[in-house]
Every structure is written in structure tokens, then in C-alpha cells.
Amino acid sequence: MIKAYSTLIIWGVLFFPLLSLLFLVSQDGLGANPIEFSIHYLGGWGLKLLLITLLISPLRILLNWNWLSRNRRLFGLFSFFYISLHIIFYVGIDQFFNWHDILDDVFKRMYITVGLIAFLLLIPLALTSTKKMIKKIGGKIWIRIHKGIYIAAVLACLHFFMMRKGVQFEPLFYAGLFSLFFLFRIYFYIRRKNQ
């Protein structure tokens, strides 16, 4: 049963952060600085979903959760969706399309430079996510393009770390999780090669 409905449930789960945000907006619950809150919230979910996307393959290998891995693309696309909203909010609300100030940020604020590169790296992944595109460009090239998620994830973690003042626990926690998944993938890669 779960398998049959899994896709539906996953859609619901993935939309939940956005619905929560809209609920908070309706309740005037975004606190003293609603713009900052929304941007951090959207970026936070983008990063969380990016890491969850990377967790799916290890879970498939360890627990045989094929139902989840069938939906990996959905997680990745929702991560991209939240990161896009994060950037739209920054450009359109926080900076209110002040391109001069935005460019100033991009070139002078390292954490914004790093974050933007991570986003740019994710665009080809999103564009080549359909079955049609996989066929069109071929599996090998597709895999190579999609390895970019690892670089994007490293940069996204770095972006979060640099954004916070001082050395804070939360960004380190995310970076630690990423390292864990990455080491796991390397371990399995080596094991498969030796078999």
C-alpha cells in the first residue's frame, strides 16, 4: 500500500514546508524580520532536501528502499524549487531588484558568490531531469552532469557556514551529514570495483 501511494505522500511531504510558510504568513508568524525569516527558511529547506536527495541512494543500498529511490528525482527537483524561491526572494523582496546592490553582493560577499555558484551548478541538473532528456543526451553524459550535485552540495554547505556569524553548530551538522553520505558512496564505489 505504502508503495502504491508513496509518490502521492512524497508530493505532500515536499510541499509541506511551503504550506507551513504560507500558514505562518497568514498568522503573521514570521517574527520581527519576515523577509530574513523567509529567505533563511526557503534556503534551509533547499539545503535539507539537497542532502536528503543524496541520502536516498545509500538508503536504497542499505535498506533496499526502492520505492524511495524511484522518487529521487522528485526530491532533487523540490530542492531546486526551494532554492529557486530562496533566490527569487533575495532578488525580488530583500533587494527589491536593485541590481547594483545585488552585483555588489555577488562580487564582494563571498558567501553569496559561493551560494550563487551552487545554484548555477544545479540548473543543468534540473533541465536534464526528464526521461526524454536522459535519452537525448545518453546515460553516460547524464551521470556525469548529475555528479555536479556533489559540488553543489559542498558549496551549499559552505554558503550556509559562511553566512552564520562565527563557527556555529547547525552548518557544521549539515556539512558532517554530507561528508557521511559522501564517504558512504566512496566506500561502495570502491567495493563494487573490487568485486
Binding site: 520581527a32 523577509i35 527589491f96 560577499r109 563571498m110 552564520r164 562565527g166 556555529q168
Partner: protein, 319 residues
């Protein structure tokens, strides 16, 4: 009853003093004093003990809301959007985690180059009759800002109590170190206790305030109870909270954010739109409660009062 005892942390948002009702009430109390004499009001104020300060007795000064001409940030925002890493790194952490903080009794240790070192109680330092209300801009290094109606005494008047020696060139401050009460101190994001400092002439500038209240009430714990510094021409982190130590020294004291990252946070940290921070352009700021950013002002708009302190100094070097 005119004045009730209110525990600040228990206030529902619906009950929070709005700017207009705060001023209406104050005007009413002042007129009461004028009509009925101070006696009746005095007894009312005594009954109100805990969290209300005796607002009819503020000493006159020029830093009124009218003088500033900008609207106040709401009590709700000032008390729920705080950087006070001793209670957690999120803006909403301090209001949640500082609820049970004990700010009474309170002792401040005074040491270093002064004639009257020793342990001082809160009451020895703060005389209620000296309290002033000052409406100041408050500009955080993170490019947001507020307008806060502080209650406090001029720092200079307190420094004079300690009879500093002429050798004293700097004043250093320390926040309480108590990881049991301040859970944020269990992580080493900063080297605790929190430290700040001013040059002596900055400290005795008439703008510098030791604040004990906001909106006519005692300082809520998350805002640095019971006693904190307010230096409105500097970024907010210079305005150290919950002070337990004041030291006079010949040499520039170490300051917490400078120790954590000297390239980002200078000793002076004057608000300066011309000198950008690696993470924030300081040209603009978002006033809490407003949508559009506004240009930041040199010395946070207190140029006339403090400019002379920095004559001949390269403010890019001494940022």
C-alpha cells in the same frame, strides 16, 4: 489600578504596549503628578514594584522621540528579535531561553585603574532618581536596525563613581559567565565571558548610556537584564549585555567578536556605511517593521555628537 505588576515574559502579544498607548499612559501619569502631587503616584509606583520602572521620574534630556523624529520599534519586536548568543544563536532563542534568568540580586565588580575599586550592587550604581529615557537608533552589524526607548543613566555618571585614574585610557566590560543559566555558553562559538570595551573618551561621551529598561519597564532578560551598555553610534554588538565587570586599563582591552574574527569586527566598530563588512554591505539597513531598506548613516546619525572623538583617524584602518 492604574499600574499593574506585569511579568514581561508573560505578556501576550495582544497586551503589548503599543507606542501610542505607552506615550498616552506616560503623559497621563505626568499630568497626574502635576495635579495630585508626587505622593499618590509614588505609592502606586511602589505597588507596581517588579517590572515597571517609575516612569514619571525620568530626568529631562534632549533624546526624546520627538527629537529623533522616527517611529519606535514595537516592544514585541525589540524583545523577540535579539542577538544574545549566551542564550542561543537564533533571534528568537533569547526570549525563550532567558525566561528564568536571575537578574537580582546583581553585583558588578569594578577594578583596574580607579580610586574606588570593589563590588557594587545594582542599587549602588543605578539611582532611580537619575534615570533618563533616551530614544536612540540601534544598528546591528547584520544590517538591520531598530529605534528603542531605553531607560538608563549616562555611563559617565557611573564611571565618575569609581574615580578613574588619569592613566586609565580604556574601559572594559564583561558579561556574566554562568553556563547553567546561559545555555549558549556551553558551545564555544565565542570565548566566554563576552567582552567589550571603549576608549575612555568614548565611554564618557554623553551619548553612552548604561541602560536598565525599555519602554518604561525593567530591561527584559533577553535584552541584557539587569544592566547593559548602549553606544548608539556603534554596531549593536558593542552594547554589551548583563554586565558584571567594569575595568579601567591603560591598554586596549580584548573584545569578543574581535577575538573571534579580527578581520570582520574591529575594536571601534563605529557604524560606517563607507566601510563594508565581508558579509554585509553597510551602506543600507532594514529598519525592523519596514519593507524597504534605508541608507545607513555615518555614526548611525550621531555624527555631531561623536565625530570629534575620531578626528585624524583613518576609519578604514580603525574600523
Amino acid at each position: 489600578m492604574l499600574i499593574k505588576t506585569i511579568k514581561i515574559n508573560d505578556i501576550k502579544s495582544s497586551e503589548i504596549t503599543s507606542e501610542s498607548s505607552y506615550y498616552a499612559r506616560r503623559d497621563f501619569l505626568i499630568s497626574l503628578t502635576a495635579i495630585g502631587g508626587g505622593i499618590a503616584l509614588g505609592s502606586l509606583a511602589l505597588e507596581s514594584k517588579a517590572k515597571d520602572l517609575k516612569i514619571s521620574e525620568f530626568k529631562e534630556n534632549k533624546w526624546t522621540k520627538e527629537y529623533l523624529g522616527e517611529s519606535l520599534t514595537s516592544f514585541d519586536d525589540i524583545t523577540n528579535y535579539n542577538n544574545f548568543y549566551e542564550f542561543g544563536t537564533r533571534k528568537t532563542d533569547p526570549s525563550k531561553n532567558a525566561k528564568d534568568f536571575k537578574s537580582k540580586p546583581w553585583t558588578i565588580i569594578v577594578d583596574g585603574l580607579c580610586g574606588n575599586p570593589g563590588r557594587y550592587s545594582y542599587d549602588q550604581i543605578i539611582r532611580t532618581s537619575n534615570l533618563e529615557e533616551r530614544v536612540y537608533r540601534f544598528r546591528c552589524v547584520e544590517a538591520w536596525s531598530m529605534v528603542v526607548p531605553w531607560v538608563g543613566v549616562p555611563l559617565k555618571s557611573v564611571i565618575n563613581l569609581f574615580n578613574p585614574l588619569s592613566k586609565a585610557k580604556y574601559v572594559a566590560f564583561e558579561t556574566l559567565l554562568d553556563p547553567k543559566q546561559m545555555p549558549g555558553q556551553k558551545s564555544n562559538i565565542l570565548e566566554w565571558p563576552y567582552r567589550e570595551g571603549l576608549r575612555f573618551d568614548e565611554a564618557i561621551n554623553p551619548l553612552a548610556l548604561l541602560a536598565v529598561g525599555i519602554y518604561g519597564k525593567e530591561l527584559p532578560n533577553q535584552n541584557g537584564a539587569p544592566i547593559r551598555l548602549v553606544v548608539p553610534w556603534k554596531y549593536g554588538f558593542k552594547s554589551i549585555k548583563s554586565i558584571v565587570r567594569i575595568s579601567f586599563s591603560e591598554h586596549e582591552p580584548q573584545t569578543s567578536w574581535n577575538m573571534a574574527s579580527a578581520s570582520e569586527y574591529g575594536f571601534y566598530s563605529n557604524v560606517n556605511p563607507e566601510v563594508s563588512h565581508p558579509r554585509w554591505s553597510q551602506k543600507k539597513e532594514r529598519r525592523i517593521g519596514e519593507f524597504f531598506k534605508q541608507p545607513s548613516l555615518m555614526f548611525n546619525g550621531y555624527q555631531n555628537e561623536v565625530e570629534s572623538l575620531y578626528e585624524g583617524m583613518n576609519l578604514r584602518k580603525f574600523f
